[in-house]
Symmetry: C2
Subunit: 436 residues, 2 copies
Amino acid sequence: MSPAFRPSLLTDQYELTMLQAALAGGAAQRRCVFEVFARRLPDGRRYGVLAGTGRLLEQLPDFRFGDEELADLERRKVVDAPTLRWLADYRFQGEITGYGEGECYLPGSPVLTVEGSFAEAVMLETFVLSVLNHDSAIAAAASRMTAAADQRPCLEMGARRTHEEAGVAAARAAYIAGFAASSLLASGARYGIPTIGTAAHAFTLLHDDELEAFAAQVASLGAGTTLLVDTYDVTRGVENAIKAAGTGLGAVRLDSGDLVMQAHAVRAQLDRLGATGTKIVVTSDLDEFAIAALAAAPVDSYGVGTQLVTGSGAPTAGMVYKLVAREGADGTMIPVAKKSASKASVGGRKWAVRRRDAAGVADQELLGLGGPVPSGAEYRPLQRPLVTRGEIVDTSSLEDARARHQASRAELPVTARQLSRGEAAVPTVVYQEEAR
Amino acid sequence: MSPAFRPSLLTDQYELTMLQAALAGGAAQRRCVFEVFARRLPDGRRYGVLAGTGRLLEQLPDFRFGDEELADLERRKVVDAPTLRWLADYRFQGEITGYGEGECYLPGSPVLTVEGSFAEAVMLETFVLSVLNHDSAIAAAASRMTAAADQRPCLEMGARRTHEEAGVAAARAAYIAGFAASSLLASGARYGIPTIGTAAHAFTLLHDDELEAFAAQVASLGAGTTLLVDTYDVTRGVENAIKAAGTGLGAVRLDSGDLVMQAHAVRAQLDRLGATGTKIVVTSDLDEFAIAALAAAPVDSYGVGTQLVTGSGAPTAGMVYKLVAREGADGTMIPVAKKSASKASVGGRKWAVRRRDAAGVADQELLGLGGPVPSGAEYRPLQRPLVTRGEIVDTSSLEDARARHQASRAELPVTARQLSRGEAAVPTVVYQEEAR
């Protein structure tokens, strides 16, 4: 990891070689519009969730080429001397608009629009995509989990199953999508996310018997703690838990076995012992389907690890960063798009509004090229200024993003909450001026 | 991201609450052995590949609690004052042994063994697992890809599809597993991995026509560059490419469509045009199966993105960090293991050797509890000292890990290279002393 480099090197080499060729060839200063969008949702998913915008904006001011970065590029002969001189002065001075963080999106939704010279805008491609593709994949999975959990809290516990820094971002994305807390200390330190956790099987195994371990935990952490009761035998574990903590025990945790059956048995046992207020936390390889299957079981909260941080089958959001318009020789903006097989897209800068029916339910993701943006109560504008002339103008907090996600998901048709595989919950319609 | 915290906060809260309870209860100083292993391989996989050890060791000296970390833990009331005082002096002073980075592993292989007081060893759980689970998942996928590609180079291009820091680690893991280069600048800057890349579709679209774009690229990057020929029409693209660069063009890149058919057509066209030395790079949503399907096509190298950085269907290695032995009241070490449903494991510290048959092919992953470690030419010892009394003693380089992987994979039975779903290529046998 040493020396520590700025995020500007979290960039694919071709962005710099394109820059070099465009600087030499004279096209580098042409004004360009790049759009970030997902061509499709992961197989069977009903909606996407945009996350990462806040992390992007917080790192953007540091997306510069300082002495360390320039020395590396020079040493490894990545680009020529004029390009290095240009990079030394680089700082993004264009415009960025985008959907609010936490917003639900659909195929083709222009979740981020970057406008500036080719040179300054092409540079952000890899970094923008890394942040948004990762965080949005986690947020989309998390949103399905919190929807399935309904009022019961979901707890993020996946750090150990993903890259150490991705774990922090995953906790943040999960929080946006409604998770109540995270096991990861860094998520609390960096983002103020509530953190949770009491003990693992190792703590029980460290002691000569389970009762001794529980007694030590209660003595130090109080009776309100959560005791992990499945190291040896669950029934005996619950018995020992109440013996150690009394009927005021905060919670017991189940981390293996048939959770539905166990939850019923443990709830009955706790009630019999008089611990009617003691909660049950379950944490064994859960995903949105397992959470839904536990809806009728007496469970109080869900700890989710692997399946959350790996996007529950869809570990990346598959967003792309595409040039959609650029300045022509006469100074006007020309829509552009790749034409060939299977990856064709619609050229031109797009506006985006979400249309709602009389009951307030979203029924169209309306995108348009030019012309006035539809207004009126049924149309909710989706794009907002994030960066203006290089300055960050969006001041959304993490709590704003969390609230935005809740409102955005609530507005989708009920089919959006179905876990079964299906089409996007809202159709995307591209309103072409010439089609009027 | 601000302020920047040390890796010590990349830790689950329960490690610190266990520490607090163990410090108060008196068990914190008991000597403990933790083992890292995968209970099983991802569904259908024949072998795993250990990666991340080098990243772990490079960050370990910084796994401390400084003023910023302690202030955060105090402010958020994560642990009590005696625990904070203990953390202020914390630095791992125990022993770590493990498989060499790049080594192939099998279910149950003790890829890392951490020994020290409970207090100092329990702290490393989340961090160790994050690094090894991520990097090993990528390395395992990468190894299948380089095996399928045989002598043709594989190029890592996945940064945009994963968390920005995970992208750097993924490039490193892929390099260990035989990838030739990475598109990501930071992988070159941090780890000396060769970086590659020339241009995207945006560069072509920026110009008034394709020939103008190619001419600008060749003028700046030379005729040895790689031209992306599928923005409009591939046949026309190849024609323009040779027009712009001459028959000495380095390579053309295909990023969409039916790659087998296109590769044959493009090779024929290039040869017809006299560009017999111009290579063909393909880069469209490849995985190990697509690479294998291209074996008979005239392709020179493979650019792999999404499927590499997401582990090609297995985004995490699923390793666990388990207490397997701890000091008893009389000072002897006692094997311990969780007993209850579905997650039972074998207690006791294990040695590990790989047995080879007369032809030098691995036929057994032999693990043992106590007793002499089998020696002789047929047994290859797998564990090596990494950290001794807190000091890093392993000096393996990234190149060493890459060579080690190649040798380790070559030693596996031919079934290991089959891409079809199957059992582990080598059976794991636990040699129990009492079974002698």
